[in-house]
């Protein structure tokens, strides 16, 4: 008998399915039922660029301690896809469990000696009950959820409550799902020793008031709260669900009650060039506008981004990053568009980037980006990624201050113009590099100007004179420094003990990093952490680097793009910055970060601080 992994509320279940078989909703049901028992879960879709037929996986990390990063390794594999059987079986941790459809006998060579095999004749059970092909396919998924609920001790009442919410008013569907669930439960109860799986879900109270939501959905809601009225987009994985969620939110929240008319306009453009063009046109004309896209879309938008930056037109671009370069890995995650966004377009251009860590910050930063873009009159990027955008993540509930008003920045009104206030479209009147603008149609005789991508003077008059050009470029630099102050500031997570080592990270690395810091600490490796939340970097980022001998920079790309930007922005010894890079398209794990940093600390011949001090 192989050993049997035993764990309560701390294990990883992975479902291996075929794309398009309806498994996604069953797997999500599984994850949600554990969440309802008060135990945090962190699920991840691992899917191909395909609609039907190719392999797809759903990984659920059950984590009492609330470690929401990907752990790595699989304790229980639900192997529903013959195509990937060998790979799936191989992935199971020694002592782990293989759950499979045992309808057809399988040769012993298909299994492993060091894992525990749980066979349930899912197809046989299904076919004995259902005749319709589609029903067979869908209910087989629910039957395995039922079987697993018995094996893992998941409260079936929670699953039934979830059915009740999902099929409210559709009693027939509710009953048939409960029936399928019980088919799986009853079979396992009758045929399998309840003790054969030593992984257990036990009721807890660690979820609190947190919500379970995808980053794309959250960012879309942030756009609604942030007052976006124009959304122009072009479908591209993994960002498409963001614009679609914006549409769904607007349908509920943005129609005039009396007339039924829409207080928003959404256009699916012909390409990304047009979508950013529409955003710029709308923002120039005084509406709040945004687009959502991914890396290849950014490449196409680059010319327009330069125009918006130089002509000083607000624009919000949510970049749900995927694996690059080129078409790259459309359904895998990376943080590899930092450089292409930060310095997008020809000439001396620099742009504001925000780095949300989870759906909560996707919501906050998208709403903030709409304010920032108006205040700074420039494009602002929200740099999320597939890992945050397309996976349900447990996060703090959304909050909104009742008194918050849309901050439209410096807009000169007809009254101010009428009163004789001096208007120079590119005139720095406040010393922050930000000029006043007027919306088209404001005043019959005052405040009109020409917006262009060519150089101009303070009064928007075309000019190619050197000093005029330099003055404008210097003012834009000053404006960039203003952005440094008003964009979200970095957050520090100090080690409990003093240390000469630091780590800088950002975005979706956050949950894995938090866990890695715990592991490092447990191993006696003390590291201070700083999470960068925006570019241009605050001065405190440089201060943090100066306070440490070595600073690890953890990123999900090959070239250490954040590290390059830090070196570019500050004057410091580049050898101080040690890259920690993970970029195979899977989300970075705490195991990887902790192991890599521990190894590198070892190479630095670290003497623990306590010893050095004594």
């Amino acid at each position: 008998m192989p050993q049997a992994l035993a764990a309560v509320n701390d294990f990883v279940v992975k479902f291996a399915n075929v794309n398009g078989s309806g498994s996604a909703s069953a797997n999500e049901l599984f994850a949600r039922s554990i969440l309802r028992m008060g135990v945090p879960v962190s699920p991840r879709n691992i899917f191909p660029s395909n609609i039907q037929g190719l392999p797809t996986w759903y990984e659920v990390r059950v984590t009492e301690r609330g470690w929401l990063g990907r752990r790595g390794g699989v304790d229980l594999m639900v192997a529903m896809n013959p195509q990937t059987w060998a790979q799936d079986v191989k992935e199971i941790e020694p002592g782990g469990y293989l759950f499979y459809d045992s309808t057809k006998p399988m040769p012993a060579s298909m299994f492993r000696d060091d894992i525990n095999i749980i066979g349930v004749p899912l197809t046989a059970i299904t076919n004995a009950t259902y005749t319709d092909a589609r029903q067979r396919q869908l209910f087989k998924n629910i039957i395995y959820v039922g079987a697993l609920s018995v094996l893992l001790n998941i409260d079936d009442n929670e699953i039934k409550r979830l059915f009740g919410e999902q099929f409210k008013g559709k009693e027939k569907l509710l009953d048939s799902n409960v029936k399928a669930l019980n088919l799986g439960r009853d079979w396992v109860k009758q045929h399998i020793d309840p003790d054969s799986v030593k992984l257990e879900v036990r009721k807890s109270d660690n979820v609190g008031d947190r919500i379970f939501v995808e980053g794309n959905n959250a960012a879309a809601l942030g756009a609604v709260y942030g007052g976006a009225t124009v959304c122009a987009w072009y479908p591209i994985t993994p960002s498409s669900s963001l614009a679609e969620a914006f549409q769904a939110h607007c349908k509920r929240l943005r129609h005039d009650k009396e007339t039924g008319k829409a207080r928003y306009a959404i256009v699916q453009a012909e390409d990304e060039l047009a979508s950013i063009g529409m955003v710029i046109g709308a923002a120039w004309n005084g509406a709040r506008a945004f687009t959502s896209t991914s890396g290849p879309g950014i490449s196409l938008m680059t010319e327009f981004i330069g125009l918006a930056s130089f002509a000083e037109v607000p624009a919000v671009i949510v970049n749900v990053q995927r694996g690059g370069p080129s078409t790259g890995m459309p359904t895998r995650t990376q943080q590899s568009d930092l450089l292409s966004c930060a310095y997008a377009s020809n000439g001396d251009t620099k742009h504001v980037l925000l780095f949300p860590e989870d759906p909560k910050e996707c919501f906050d930063f998208t709403a903030d980006a709409l304010d920032l873009a108006d205040r700074l009159q420039t494009p602002v990027f929200v740099m999320t990624d597939l890992d945050i955008g397309m996976n349900h993540r447990l996060c703090a509930p959304f909050q909104w201050d009742e008194s918050r008003q849309l901050d439209r920045g410096k807009v000169m009104t007809a009254e101010e113009l009428e009163a004789g206030r001096n208007f120079g479209r590119y005139l720095d009147v406040d010393g922050d590099g930000i000029p006043f603008r007027t919306y088209p149609g404001t005043h019959p005789t005052k405040g009109s100007y020409f917006t262009r991508g060519t150089t101009k003077d303070e009064y928007a008059r075309y000019s190619e004179e050197g000093p005029v050009y330099v003055r404008n470029m210097e003012r834009l630099q000053k404006k960039f420094d203003t952005a440094r102050r008003i964009a979200p500031q970095p957050l520090r997570y100090p080690s409990p003990k003093p240390t000469r080592y630091g780590v800088i990270y950002f975005g979706s690395t956050s949950p894995a990093m938090a866990e890695a810091l715990d592991h490092l600490e447990e191993g006696g490796n003390h590291v201070n952490a700083l999470r960068v939340r925006a570019f241009p970097f605050a001065q405190s980022v440089e201060d943090f680097i100066h306070e440490h001998d070595k600073v690890f920079v953890v990123e999900q790309n090959r070239d250490g793009q954040l590290r390059s930007m830090i070196m570019n922005e500050f004057t410091l010894d580049a050898r101080k910055l040690v890259p920690v890079l993970h970029y195979d398209g899977t989300p970075i794990t705490a195991r990887f970060i902790a192991a890599d940093i521990a190894k590198k600390l070892g190479q630095l011949k670290v003497v623990p601080f306590e010893k050095a001090a004594s």
Binding site: D209, R210, I211, F212, V213, L221, V224, Y225, G227, T229, V230, A232, L253, R254, T259, K261, A262, R263, Y264, A265, V267, A269, E270, L273, A274, S275, I276, G277, M278, I280, G281, A282, A283, W284, N285, G286, A287, E303, F304, L307, P397, F398, W400, D401, E402, R404, Q405, L406, P440, G441, T442, P444, T445, S448, F450, T451, R452, G453, R461, S463
Partner: protein, 351 residues
């Protein structure tokens, strides 16, 4: 030298329109285009049209791409906002601008390189979306700013100034606009003010996507023998289908027409388009016939001009999107932000 401003002093005898502006109030900066450029005649026609329509100058938004033609918005209606966007992408910027404020009058000015070469895709899509605008292409078949290369509207066989024959098929923007769903399509000639001004007025009054292809000879690079976009060639081959009189709904109709010589089309805003027949019977509300006639003319080497197609009851993008009557750019926090109570309900649904 667009920074040279014209003297603001107006002669007291200048006649003011119903909005209280003289014709000169619709002018812009001094043109920097070549003397004799067709584009300046079109700018003058736009100025005349705006003056005659009693438009408030600041209620116009002028957008363009890149090129000689795209400089033109600087030279008319100086009191309005203008946007020189990027090459070939004016349509998307105009679409977004229109979404933000449906109350302004949108005038897009582009060239044949800007709309038919680099910008053909965006040209097609703005027409099919039905953006409420007047889109004018100042069409000279040549790149002026880069000194004389063919554009995509240059006719096959047309000879360049350097003596090279164009071997590529030309793109006919009029046919394309009709095909893509523009609801007002006309063609004219920069040298024919009497035809052009009423066409611009009618296009501006039209409540949907209005497109005007205006042949506008380039005196510097495309006005020689062998060119099919020269003044001489266009004058000789101009095949005008009709003469348009634009009559605003509130105006008293004073012009007398002989019976059987006029077709009247009433546009959605109440304005009347009176089309005087010139020879053949032509019904501009028949889309299929319009495409056939334009293609026939093309095959015969004619420059078919006039009001070619009009749908008198167009639907625009705002209609399709069911947007509120109030411009989106005037909506404030209370209109747009659902507030914390709604957010609490959303939070509850995500647990």
């Amino acid at each position: 030298m667009t920074y040279i401003t014209k003297p603001k002093l107006h002669h007291p005898s200048l006649v003011k329109n119903k909005a209280g502006y003289t014709r000169r109030d619709y002018e812009g900066a001094v043109s920097t285009l070549c003397a004799g450029c067709g584009h300046d005649s079109i700018s003058a026609a736009i100025i005349q049209a705006c003056y005659e329509l009693d438009i408030l100058p600041h209620q116009v938004a002028k957008l363009s791409g890149i090129g000689c033609s795209s400089k033109a918005p600087t030279y008319f209606v100086g009191a309005s906002h203008g946007f020189n966007t990027v090459h070939g992408r004016m349509p998307s910027v105009m679409t977004g601008a229109n979404l933000a404020n449906r109350d302004l009058i949108y005038m897009g000015v582009s060239g044949d390189g800007d709309s038919a070469s680099i910008g053909l895709g965006q040209f097609a899509h703005i027409m099919r979306r039905g953006v409420n605008m007047t889109y004018i292409v100042m069409n000279n078949g040549v790149y002026g700013l880069t000194k004389g290369q063919f554009s995509a509207t240059a006719d096959k066989g047309s000879i360049s100034k350097k003596g090279v024959a164009n071997s590529d098929e030309s793109i006919d923007l009029v046919s394309l606009a009709i095909l893509m769903g523009a609801s007002f399509v006309g063609r004219s000639f920069s040298g024919d003010k009497h035809q052009l001004v009423p066409l611009i007025k009618a296009a501006m009054a039209h409540g949907g996507a209005a497109f005007l292809d205006v042949i506008s000879p380039c005196v510097a690079f495309n006005n020689h023998a062998g060119s099919t976009k020269s003044y001489e060639y266009v004058r000789e081959h101009n095949e005008a289908l009709n003469r348009l009189d634009f009559i605003e709904g509130r105006e008293e109709i004073t012009t007398q027409y002989d019976p059987g010589t006029v077709t009247t089309v009433q546009q959605h805003d109440g304005s009347l388009l009176r089309l005087r027949k010139l020879g053949e019977d032509y019904d501009p509300s028949d889309k299929i016939a319009a495409m056939k006639r334009v293609q026939e003319g093309q095959a015969a080497g004619e420059v078919v001009t006039g009001l070619l197609y009009v749908d008198p009851t167009p639907r625009d993008l705002h209609h399709h999107l069911n947007t509120v009557a109030q411009p989106l750019n005037t909506l404030g926090t209370a209109d747009l932000c659902p507030g914390p109570a709604a957010l609490d309900r959303i939070n509850a649904s995500l647990r």
